[in-house]
Subunit: 106 residues, 2 copies
DNA sequence: ATAACATATTGATTATTCTAGATATATAAA
DNA sequence: TTTATATATCTAGAATAATCAATATGTTAT
């Protein structure tokens, strides 16, 4: 059985109303292509560390961290802690559900 | 031949990042159900006049007019002038193209 | 022409978002 | 246990968005 969970259009749109945040989401679609490999883990299964995202975005550490927290609050990304690092990856089911919500309700 | 026109995700998300504007778009999906009939035209083919939208939204005339102009600039709605009134209707192809853009690029 | 009406635009105020520096917290290394 | 590193949170100023009252514009009726 498939449960469709309607997403909050306004809340998610606020996250997507910023160029940097949208670009981060897109970069995370293909970490191998968009980021250097991690030295402490040999895969991107848990996503990309904040520092790499910050370097690529060219904004301050606090700004990127704030952005990622906002994206996490909207459930668009999932954080995983590995030692000192926090890795962020896309939350694909939520992203898909959001698009389904737009299709149904917008 | 079907041409896919990629929409600007950030720009449209800014429009959708507001509860009133999203509700207006939804009301316009079913004008017969959501608005009183117009007296000067006997159909909703060209959409709904600003005054009805304003009454339903409960915000000032200038605010609603500003919102509708913003939605028009994002091409989400199409205005049609009939005498003193401006009627707004949804721009379905653009709304669909936006959802397609999200599916492809987000 | 003038008055009345619907909508758009302008100007101003308040609220929210953006953004960075400073500081705090958590973890690992020495 | 101190030190270094990565990320998160706090604080604050600048930029943008929300909102309305007042005014302007365009259209119709008198």
């Amino acid at each position: 059985m498939y449960y469709f969970c309607a997403m909050n259009i306004v809340e998610i749109s606020k996250v997507l109303a910023n160029d940097t945040r949208v670009r981060i989401l897109r970069w995370l679609k293909d970490p191998v292509a968009n980021f250097p490999p991690h030295q402490d883990i040999d895969h991107f299964d848990d996503g990309v560390c904040v520092g790499y995202i910050q370097d690529k975005a060219g904004l301050s550490q606090s700004t990127i961290s704030t952005y990622l927290t906002a994206m996490q609050n909207a459930q668009l990304v999932i954080p995983t802690r590995h030692g000192k690092w926090t890795y962020y990856k896309r939350n694909e089911p939520v992203i898909e559900a959001y698009i389904e919500t737009l299709k149904a309700e917008l």
